[in-house]
């Protein structure tokens, strides 16, 4: 385990060095991400300033949903940005080199790059979230943390599925962006969608469980059945994704090298 931590820290340090080498570009990316966050926040507050609520959710509650969406969305990118470069590794044959190393290739693929461009926004979101969280009960906060961990496990599993698909089809980029756009559907609570889309976002691609369930837990709006479902699904998906990854590795043909 210590070996993996060392490698992650080394990769993270290298990512930071790389970002600092191209400071102008880094600034554009960071400004872009922060602008995107605030532009949507302007939208939320302007609309809610005129309506007072969306469905049964008040302005403060919608704000919580938006912050928690951003938190897990950013964490996914911050930790697993390496997946965005996986296709290039496969089609260039560089993945062969990864396979020859005495360390889990999945770990190397997923954590190849830690995205520091998301870090300033992560701090902003955390600051705003901690400010909001203080007014909720300890029990709600603990369930929120638990379901947040389940959400992160599902995010990890989805990234593993995408990496596996990358090996089988060399298609990574479009899939990861579709996942990102599906995620963006959870900027607001998924209750806004009709039954079919809502079911899809809970049972097929569990975006709702990653983003909406933890927020509902914090607001004290979640049932115990949903909590149990989140825990079972997250563990199940992680196990399944690891099995799919192992199966896909057996199909890897090293065609480009």
């Amino acid at each position: 385990m210590n070996k993996y931590l060392k490698i992650w820290l080394k990769n993270t340090a290298l990512s930071l060095q790389s970002d600092l080498t191209t400071r102008g570009s880094t600034l554009f990316f960071i400004l872009g991400k922060i602008s995107r966050f605030y532009f949507f926040l302007i939208f939320i507050f302007i609309i809610l300033g005129k309506t007072g609520h969306i469905m049964t959710y008040s302005t403060d509650q919608v704000f919580i949903f938006y912050l928690i969406f951003n938190l897990f969305d950013i964490l996914g990118q911050f930790l697993f940005r390496g997946i965005y470069w996986f296709r290039a590794r496969i089609i260039s044959g560089d993945f062969d080199l990864t396979l020859t190393k005495p360390i889990s290739p999945l770990f190397l693929v997923m954590t190849d790059k830690t995205d520091f461009l998301d870090f300033p926004l992560l701090l902003i979101v955390l600051y705003l979230l901690v400010e909001q969280i203080m007014s909720y009960s300890v029990v709600n906060i603990l369930i929120f943390i638990g379901l947040g961990l389940c959400g992160l496990i599902i995010v990890t599993a989805i990234h593993i599925f995408i990496a596996s698909l990358g090996i089988l089809t060399t298609e990574v980029n479009n899939i990861i962006w579709i996942y990102r756009d599906l995620s963006a559907m959870a900027k607001f609570p998924i209750d806004i969608y009709n039954l079919w889309i809502r079911s899809f976002l809970i049972f097929i691609i569990p975006i709702g469980i990653i983003f909406t369930f933890p927020a509902k837990a914090l607001l004290g709006m979640i049932s115990w059945q949903s909590v149990v479902y989140s825990v079972i699904l997250s563990i199940g998906l992680l196990i399944l994704s690891l099995k799919v990854w192992q199966a896909s590795l057996k199909k890897y043909s090293s065609a480009s090298s």
Binding site: T22, G24, S25, T26, L27, F28, F29, L31, G32, S35, R36, F39, F40, F43, I46, I47, K50, T51, I54, M55, E171, N174, I175, W177, I178, D181, L182, A184, M185, K187, F188, D191, I192, Y193, N194, I197
Partner: protein, 266 residues
């Protein structure tokens, strides 16, 4: 003219060759449309009018933004920055081809395919969700609407290539960092999140002076019948002014950029 038609044709063929990639890419904007439609549906629950928009006019705006962004704002020319950064631009400079017309032809092919895809998607979404939206029955708006769309395509093209030309001076990361930042700002200024007149009046007036307001927002305001004939007329003049200014500016920046260009990476 014929050679640019050939570029248009080969660009279409390229899209058909990479069908899956095209479909997956376009699926992304459909997800955005769904999110936007259901968000507004939830916002309008129990409300008949918000910021001067009825639910019917807002749904028309949401679907209109989707269709027009595929037809107008969708652009292949965002890749120009990458060509400048990689030095691939040299390939074009050696050929008897106008770089602006070449990319405009490529843009048109992409717009045609994207708009056809968008119309099919809208058709299916209408069958699935049966949204009730405002349909302008006043035929008077149509020539103005089409005229504004025509100019919006030109306006968007020249604005886009101006942003790409920044790569002459800043080629890092294939010209994507500034493109990324400006795309986010543009998404906001184009009115893709929400109509610009939802803002307080002073901010709204400031935003609607900018050229970005004439790319999607203005044609949709004409469609929705939210502006008077007199306002359509003078805003058309402003739009015409911005288009001419951006054409002139992009040509000057292109000339200056070529002096700076060193074909790095070749």
């Amino acid at each position: 003219m014929n050679k640019y038609f050939q570029v248009f044709k080969t660009s279409l063929q390229e899209i058909f060759t990479y069908r899956l990639s095209f479909l997956l890419w376009k699926t992304r904007s459909v997800l955005g449309l769904l999110a936007s439609y259901f968000t507004w549906l939830a916002i309008f629950q129990g409300k008949s009018i918000i910021a001067g928009y009825t639910s019917k006019s807002m749904f028309a705006y949401v679907f209109g933004i989707y269709l027009l962004s595929e037809l107008i704002a969708n652009s292949e020319s965002i890749n120009i920055g990458e060509e400048i950064s990689s030095g691939d631009l040299s390939n074009y400079l050696l050929k008897p081809i106008n770089y602006f017309y070449y990319w405009f032809s490529r843009d048109l092919a992409s717009k045609v395919m994207s708009a056809i895809f968008a119309i099919i998607i809208i058709f299916f979404l209408f069958i699935l969700f049966k949204p009730v939206f405002f349909f302008n029955q006043n035929i008077f708006f149509l020539p103005f609407f089409l005229f504004s769309v025509f100019f919006a395509i030109a306006l968007n093209f020249y604005l886009n290539i101006l942003i790409s030309f920044f790569s002459f001076w800043y080629p890092e990361h294939s010209g994507w960092p500034h493109r990324f930042f400006l795309n986010i700002v543009l998404t906001f200024l184009l009115g893709m999140y929400f109509p610009l007149d939802i803002f307080p009046k002073i901010i709204s007036q400031l935003l609607t002076i900018l050229p970005t307001a004439y790319i999607l927002y203005f044609p949709l305001q004409i469609y929705l019948g939210k502006i008077s004939n007199f306002e359509i007329f003078w805003r058309m003049l402003v739009m015409f002014f911005w288009t001419i200014l951006l054409i002139k500016l992009s040509k000057s920046v292109w000339t200056a950029g070529l002096k700076k260009y060193s074909s790095e990476g070749r």
